[in-house]
């Protein structure tokens, strides 16, 4: 049954006790995202150092299990990566959610891949895809330090 795939233990766990929740100190980039129709919102903070490494990353926000878990897993995986690696991971994730069944990134360990794959069940729930992608789109914005809020309605 699909629901079991969507709500795997690991998702529920991340949803309930998200990692990297809060406002990290000394962040130098940030962005906000929201989903106006359901009221989900997220605020991503990150510290990108001179070598373009993500020294720290965190998020604030509220939303469903999927969106919380996705933000939690995302921050977990992105922390410590450099900008190029991070962007590859983002692309890989968005590709997976949209169509690709597999992850290609060389920047993820098998363990990390497994974590990310947990979110692939969302693919079968088109209306929930935006729950899963909101934080990721917001992260892209944060890298670019964009002013405009990300909006997953489009």
């Amino acid at each position: 049954m699909n629901l079991k795939e969507l709500y795997q233990e690991i998702i529920l766990e991340h949803g309930k006790n998200p990692k990297n929740l809060g406002k990290t100190e000394n962040f130098n980039k940030e962005a906000k995202g929201n989903n106006p129709l359901c009221g989900d919102n997220v605020h991503v903070y990150l510290k990108l150092n001179d070598k373009k490494n993500v020294e720290d990353i965190s998020f604030e926000g509220s939303g469903c299990a999927i969106s919380m878990a996705s933000a939690s897993i995302m921050t977990d995986l992105i922390k410590g990566k450099n900008l190029i690696e991070a962007k590859e991971i983002i692309e890989d994730f968005l590709g997976m959610i949209k169509e690709n069944p597999e992850l290609h990134s060389k920047n993820l360990t098998d363990d990390e891949k497994t974590k990310l794959m947990c979110l692939s069940g969302v693919k079968q729930y088109p209306m929930r895809v935006k729950c899963a992608t909101l934080s990721w789109h917001t992260l892209v914005s944060a890298f670019e330090n964009k002013k405009a809020e990300v909006n997953t309605e489009n």
Partner: protein, 406 residues
């Protein structure tokens, strides 16, 4: 009343959702359509179609008469004094925009105040916000009490000498509170205040009587009343509709057009610019007949039973928290489940064929007040049964299982 018979009049219930029977608990969002209404649209387009009021040929004459017949049916259904007090719009949202905009043009001055409540739908807030931006009017909010209700005192408390308009819902689409409109109108009129009612949620569920309510404007969504999409109704007292300026300009709403001046049609054309939603208006006559055939008293009774039954059921379910416990409640059961976000609830329920809505239901102010970002909402229509609510409750229990809660 035989609900299973009535349900058969709605073709949608022959469909399967994820291999389950459809349990439609999203009527506050939009109601399903009975066959008579769907058939009427079909018949009109297939055998009678023409534009209204613009040609003198046979089809056009017939269509115009049908269109105006609906106006009269609506007039009677809501007991308006005059058929010209009925304006067809594209929805309740447009109706409320029309009122705010035209009052803003001719009646409201800088510093004037509009009183709304904390439970208003965005459609009854944003149009007034536009006037706050363009005309510097002020918007005050009458508070909801802890039952999710707005008692008369809370309205009275929020009035000032500059209050010019009270714009409020008749029935809250989140807490289900039925507001004391008649009393509010009495109070308002004793102080010369205009009363605008957002009747979107009340119109499908309550007996409407404009002359008794005595409000100045009343906005209705036809698609929530077993009618077609893309249609709404604005009731407005004749003196206001005559006095206020037109809202949209175009064909059909003019009297004389010259290069340097334009004069406008009398009611009702003045507010119906351009080609209207002809087929929808004509089909809506069947929606009214459908409701009349059942009888609004019976509809009210049935839905009251449902809401009471649902409230009891969900109250007994630990970890379910009902939103709002107003004195008079109708139509909706909003709730949260400890530890499960409303979107997750909606997704899991959907797997069982149960359609509810999750989110802020266009009421962010209310949700802010409640300290939550979203809620789950089950809402009922004439086709729902207690069995539907049992299924709702069972499916909520399934959510808890999936989320490892007890």
């Amino acid at each position: 009343m035989n609900i299973s018979q009535i349900k058969k009049e709605f073709p949608i219930f022959d469909e399967k959702i994820h291999n389950n029977d459809l349990v439609y608990l999203d009527s506050a969002n939009s109601s399903q359509k009975p066959k008579v209404v769907i058939d009427r649209i079909n018949e009109f387009y297939s055998k009678q179609f023409s534009n209204v009021g613009r040609s003198v040929h046979y089809l056009s004459v017939a269509a115009t008469n049908l269109y105006e017949n609906t106006r009269i049916s609506v007039q009677k259904y809501i007991n308006a004094k005059d058929k010209n007090e009925i304006v067809f719009t594209k929805g309740a949202t447009e109706a409320l925009n029309l009122v705010a905009n035209t009052l803003g043009q001719k009646y409201l001055q800088e510093g004037d105040e509009v009183l709304i409540t904390e439970l208003e739908h965005h459609s009854n807030y944003v149009p007034w916000h536009f006037l706050r931006k363009s005309k510097n009017i002020k918007i005050n909010f009458a508070e909801i009490n802890e039952d999710g209700d707005v008692p008369l005192e809370n309205i009275e408390k929020a009035l000032t000498s500059r209050t010019k308009v009270i714009a409020i819902s008749h029935l809250s689409n989140v807490t289900g509170a039925i507001l004391p409109i008649k009393e509010i109108t009495d109070l308002a009129h004793s102080r010369g205040i205009i009363v605008v009612i957002d009747g979107c949620q009340s119109a499908p569920h309550l007996k409407l009587d404009m002359q008794d309510l005595d409000c100045d404007f009343y906005a209705i969504s036809c698609h929530k009343m077993y009618g077609p999409t893309g249609l709404g109704i604005l009731y407005g007292k004749k003196k206001w509709l005559e006095e206020l300026p037109p809202y949209q300009g175009g064909g059909g709403m003019i009297k004389e057009v010259k290069k340097d001046r334009i004069s406008y049609s009398d009611l009702p054309n003045k507010y119906e610019a351009g080609t209207m939603a002809t087929a929808q208006v004509i089909a809506f006559d069947q929606s009214i007949k459908f409701m009349e055939n059942i009888g609004i008293e019976k509809i009210m009774l049935h839905e009251k039973e449902l809401i009471e039954y649902g409230q009891e059921l969900l109250r007994k379910n630990n970890s379910v928290k009902l939103i709002g416990n107003p004195k008079n409640k109708g139509g909706v059961l909003s709730f949260t489940v400890e530890g499960i976000h409303p979107h997750d609830i909606a997704t899991i329920l959907d797997e069982d064929g149960i359609a509810i809505r999750a989110g802020h239901h266009c009421c962010q102010i209310l949700h802010d007040k409640l300290g939550i970002t979203a809620s789950a909402r089950a809402s009922v229509g004439i086709y729902n049964t207690k069995d539907d609510l049992d299924k709702l409750n069972n499916s909520i229990n399934n959510c808890k299982k999936i989320f490892n809660l007890k």
